[in-house]
């Protein structure tokens, strides 16, 4: 349990740092971060606070679709924003294009690792992922349609508010699924089988490709 909590906290901290890296790269952010960025530009609120507030609103949307948050959901809502703020404090914006691309690629890679850590800790999905899976389970709509609908909507609103949409947004959409598909299976804390330590005969689990949107 202690190791799972540590994995969750490290994952959420790194998730915020990864968001800060992608924002500082200036090549376009993830759809939900474009929304937070847009709201930040229209208000005097900081990015981290806006991220926490957006998470709170998303959690309210869980009520009509009857989803129950786990401790991981609540900690995700509370911790990702402040850790992104911490990252924004110490990560400067690079000047050269190659450095921007490198920083974005690093942020995307770290986001995939962080997602594997916090999802793999099995304390529940983040507010945004839970909204997607909740709508899918309540309506039966295909998960890709729900995800595209939600992220397309928040991306459009964020862009209209002044959030940065660009190559990075497209790269995130294309690559995060396969990248997380590599981290979640390996970083997922396994269920404790009754004979896990007594009988080391390897059973098997299949690949679990998925996307990530906290």
């Amino acid at each position: 349990m202690t190791r799972r909590i540590a994995q969750l906290l490290v994952g959420l901290f790194l998730y915020g740092i990864a968001i800060a890296m992608m924002l500082r790269a200036g090549l376009g952010a993830t759809p939900w971060d474009v929304l937070s960025q847009g709201i930040t530009r229209q208000t005097s609120l900081g990015f981290g606070l806006v991220t926490v507030l957006v998470s709170g609103v998303v959690l309210l949307l869980w009520i009509p679709i009857r989803q129950r948050p786990g401790i991981g959901t609540l900690l995700n809502a509370l911790l990702v924003g402040p850790s992104a703020d911490a990252g924004l404090l110490f990560i400067p914006a690079p000047g050269a294009l190659w450095a921007q691309i490198l920083l974005f690629a690093g942020g995307l890679s770290l986001l995939a690792v962080a997602t594997g850590l916090y999802i793999g800790a099995r304390f529940g999905p983040g507010p945004r992922d839970g909204l997607m899976t909740g709508i899918h389970s309540r309506t039966g709509w295909p998960i890709w349609a729900v995800r595209t609908g939600i992220e397309g909507t928040v991306l459009t609103i964020g862009w209209l508010l002044g959030g940065v949409v660009g190559f990075g947004t497209l790269a995130f959409a294309l690559f995060i699924g396969p990248m997380v598909g590599k981290t979640i299976p390996l970083l997922r804390v396994p269920e404790k089988a009754a004979d896990a330590t007594a009988r080391p005969v390897p059973t098997v689990t299949g690949p679990t490709p998925t996307g990530a949107s906290a």
Partner: protein, 42 residues
């Protein structure tokens, strides 16, 4: 400079995990049950 090193470290971290995940799979593309590795650890 610092940001480039941070980015390279993050890419290397993901690449290491991806390589481990790929190597750990058997000929049918299945991962072994990691519980036998995870739970005996302190």
């Amino acid at each position: 400079m610092i940001t480039s090193l941070l980015a390279l470290a993050a890419i290397a971290l993901w690449a290491s995990i991806a390589a481990l995940e790929t190597v750990a799979r058997d000929g049918y593309g299945r991962l072994p049950d990691l519980a036998v590795v995870y739970y005996p650890l302190p």
